[in-house]
Symmetry: C2
Subunit: 183 residues, 2 copies
């Protein structure tokens, strides 16, 4: 019946990304454990948030590695990235929200690495003529994150099936909403 640190952190991420004011007791209940046990595994709220950020960065960077976003056709690389990101949308949402707190110039180093890698993919696609150049790479990066987070919430609410999420995000981001005659 031992508590698994990763599972607790995943529950905490999904709760905190939606309700940042959740108490330690709320987090414990969301993870299915008591507050005492939660404190045994994490020295305090600060330590928990730190561990959460660390795990989130690792999960997402692992996803970037697995998607091999530096290789091949940019559009396909973006689809692979989205497919890797949607299962860990809760962690991404937490990180994304957490980095809205800092001053615009001092982001978390791990988050900065992630943004840089995703931004590089976008720029690579723009240079190859695959992605539009009239939209800034920075904005497209933000848009990608926002859509993944939104899809994660839709899944949490049962409005979207988890297996649909990658396609929903990728189709909107790559193709847009407009119907087209020629695919």
């Amino acid at each position: 019946m031992t508590v698994h640190r990763g599972q607790v952190l995943k529950a905490a991420a999904e709760l905190l990304s939606r309700k940042a004011t959740a108490s330690m007791d709320d987090i414990a209940r969301a993870a299915g454990i008591s507050r005492a046990t939660l404190h045994r595994h994490f020295a305090g709220r600060e330590a928990l948030v730190f561990a959460l950020a660390e795990l989130a960065v690792r999960q997402i960077e692992d996803g970037l590695d697995a998607a091999r976003i530096e290789e091949g056709d940019p559009a396909q690389a973006l689809r692979r990235l989205v497919a890797q990101a949607t299962p860990v949308a809760g962690f991404l949402a937490f990180l994304y929200g957490e980095n809205q707190l800092y001053e615009p110039g001092t982001p978390d180093p791990g988050w900065a690495r992630i943004e840089e890698r995703v931004g590089a993919l976008i720029r690579r696609g723009q240079e190859r003529g695959a992605f539009r150049r009239d939209l800034s790479a920075h904005w497209l990066t933000d848009a990608l994150h926002a859509l993944v987070v939104a899809s994660g919430w839709s899944v949490q609410d049962g409005r979207m099936a988890p297996r649909e999420a990658p396609r929903m995000v990728a189709e909107v981001l790559l193709g847009g909403v407009l119907e087209r005659r020629t695919a």
Copy 2:
């Protein structure tokens, strides 16, 4: 030097949508007033949040009216909607975040009205063959909100000019990221 209620609420919306844990003192400072004055205008935090939600709903519904989203070409209506929404992105972000707290079945009535009107526009576009049918109207509604919120944060951080925001959001949402030969 009298405090203007609307300006205080706008500052509160932009702060709270990013940092839900902000204290009344933080909110007061963000609005450029003292905590005492903040309490003179709003009975308490609960009352402030209520007033904020009320104003946010009104601002956005006014925008929907001004954009006349029920009329004309759906794609153009969506562009008008985005143009009206981006200036009040802070309020939309607050409402959007606030409604992630409730249980999936009991949203704020005002927010439900907004979602319904936007959803109706999406469905109208799908029925007319203007918008894609392979993506659910609900998801497209969520995607729209998420992109507007993200653009608002970009503006707050100085990464995007306010006047660019409508086009950035509308272009990604309608056209997607992919470069195309034929416009």
